[in-house]
């Protein structure tokens, strides 16, 4: 059992939780994730370690409520416990002194890109960051990202804040304006965003790392459910990744695999919402 020691709403439907799990905190590195299972009937879902504190023995998770499990997690409060937090899983990000790098975070992807940007900056890189969200109210961690970036560009799809438009536009401009300067790019966000970031950077030849969010169960390489095709062959995201070269990923396959359980996910979510409403009614 793992106790929640802090909880904060970052934006509507996006919650930050600090969870006590000393053995994960001890070894966590940027780019790694945990598998979370809320309770006995719960499913196992992957969540990136957005930050960790070895001394306190805690990890920070940022969760976007998109379905049953994440929504249920959002209802947990400080002092509540989570049945399983296993990790840190996956390969850590390869942090080195590359020179100038770009870190792109889209939506809830801002959270996982943060520790990477911070580690890259600490390693002596010049970090240019681009973060984006659909709308101003969904944007979070702007100050945190600013603190670990030499330059920060903020965009919103609807233009309610910062630059209007998608993250790919300022990214292309940076690549065009500073030819040869940018050594590497990291991009984390919705699969579609990562696909288009990869498309954008490929003509410039700047190596682009993405962190893939496939469906997982065990997270230890035992089921193969997380597999993607990257670099020609099948790879298990949980043990071979989660980071891959964005140019090598078969995005259409990844996107179709992500859709596979849609009808059942919908069913579970709706049933849970009905149950959750009942509870609220009776306590009201």
């Amino acid at each position: 059992m793992y106790r929640i020691v802090e909880k904060q709403e970052l934006a509507p439907g996006i919650k930050q939780m600090v969870v006590e799990t000393p053995h994960v905190a001890r070894r966590a590195r940027p780019g790694q994730f945990v598998i979370v299972r809320l309770d006995a009937p719960g499913e196992r879902i992957p969540l990136t370690i957005a930050d960790h504190d070895t001394a306190q023995g805690t990890v920070t998770l940022v969760v976007q409520e998109v379905g049953k499990t994440t929504a249920q997690m959002g209802t947990l409060e400080v002092g509540d416990t989570i049945a399983t937090v296993a990790g840190p899983l996956g390969h850590p990000t390869e942090i080195a002194a590359y020179g100038t790098v770009v870190c792109v975070g889209g939506g809830v992807g801002i959270a996982p890109v943060f520790p990477i940007a911070r580690a890259l900056q600490t390693a002596g890189n010049r970090v240019l960051s681009i973060i984006g969200a659909r709308s101003r109210n969904l944007l979070f961690w702007e100050e945190r990202m600013a603190a670990v970036s030499n330059e920060l560009i903020v965009c919103t799809d609807d233009g309610s804040y910062g630059r209007p438009g998608l993250v790919t536009e300022p990214l292309r401009e940076l690549l065009e304006a500073r030819p040869g300067e940018i050594a590497r790019i990291w991009a984390i966000g919705p699969a579609v965003m990562m696909k288009f970031v990869s498309r954008t950077t490929e003509p410039f030849g700047v190596p682009t790392t993405v962190s893939l969010n496939t469906v997982m169960i065990d997270g230890t390489g035992m089921c193969g459910g997380c597999r993607v095709v990257a670099g020609g062959g099948a790879q298990f995201v949980c043990v071979d990744g989660p980071e891959f070269s964005g140019w090598q990923v078969d995005w259409d396959l990844l996107l179709s695999r992500l859709q596979y359980y849609r009808p059942q996910e919908q069913e579970a979510f709706e049933q849970w919402q009905r149950g959750a409403c009942r509870v609220e009614e009776t306590t009201a």
Partner: protein, 479 residues
Amino acid sequence: MAAGRLPRRGDDRLMPRIIPTRTPMAEQPPAQRIHNFDEVPYGYTPEEAKAEAARCLLCKRPTCIDGCPVHINIVGFLELTAKGDFRGAINLIKESDALPAITGRVCPQETQCEQVCVMGRKYQPVAIGRVERFLADWEASRGDLSVPELAPPTGKTVAVVGAGPAGLTVAADLARLGHRVTVFEALHEAGGVLVYGIPEFRLPKAIVQREVNYVCNLGVSLIKDFVVGQTATLDELLEDYNAIFLGSGAGLPWFLDIPGENLSGVYSANEYLTRSNLMKAYRFPEYDTPIARGRRVITIGGGNVAMDACRTALRLGAEESMVVYRRSRDEMPARIEEIHHAEEEGIRFMYLTTPVAIHGDDQGQVKELECLRNELGEPDASGRRRPVAVEGSNFRVPADIVIMAIGQSPSPLIPRTTADLQTQRDGVVVIDEATGKTSMKGVFAGGDVATGGATVILAMGQGRTAAAAIHDYLKTGVW
């Protein structure tokens, strides 16, 4: 009645009555059981167990014992059972086999103890496994599973990696010898393949839980959600423990590497079975984990894993569940009882068939499996005739789910973070057979991680061997 029939030990010529056929075991009828996940065989009653045990010839040279990887005193426990001394019989078994309720159910008896049973030369062999299972269940039903006396604490600590049959055996043996044992398990439940792979209808999870509780009652600490190689490396564990047993199994599923294998609806058997068993997807949405419920499901492979997958598919509501196997029925490595059960349940077997591609629809979901027909050619290294594909014999079978059950090997997670751990082909950890010693001082291994996918009883047997060697090492410090 049964006891009265007992022939005198060792005097084969005076054998009074030969009972040629086995005592049948009642089972759930196929038409009923394909709609539930309850166990298929009901097990013997005490009378049936006595009658079956009385079929034993009490051979002077009981070959059955050589057929059992852990050398259970089979003739001894059968004799006691025939006399009705169930307590004596189960105690005798437990001297060599810590998990008889499990081995009695899942051992491939027909290639082990029962294959070499003398009765089997002319008649049906004694149903050793069924009697073993009866005795274990009899003991459990009495609820007086006693915790054996533990040796005084030695002050030595042992880390066991993996809570499968190998790890649990080592943990129990070493705890009894007075060592402090901690088991590290990657998943949220202990039991290994017994909980995530083998379905409820073949091995009820309550039985596994009973055995896990037994091990914990010996004072063993169980730390779940701990992925060795990630949460801590083997080298880090060695700093805190006097010895390590590596029993992490062979969990990495193989794929065929054919076109279309990554379409939605293609599962590894591990994923399919883990969703259904460990995560209880068969009770979705009561449990959160979903599983695709196909109308036409094809399982590729011919071992126990394939049988478990195709039978699970049926229980999840498939209208048709098929098995595609590249050789013929005689070569299928699955337990004969499982093949038989699968046939009874209406599984369709396509033998001498090799899958070559999977075709999808415009949603990226499985639509058809394309196969070639095989002929049997020259014998291969395993002595079985090699299947040879007939060129141009391609045909397609409609399917919405394809399950790959073609084998597995140890996960690379631990070797890739442990410089000194020697592995061979497919990541199998190299051990000294007699002791379980690996290439790293203080680290022993056994079970599927050291053999590749094998059997429960072999994993336990290797655990036994390693536990004894670990005990020696802890006492003497000599490697």
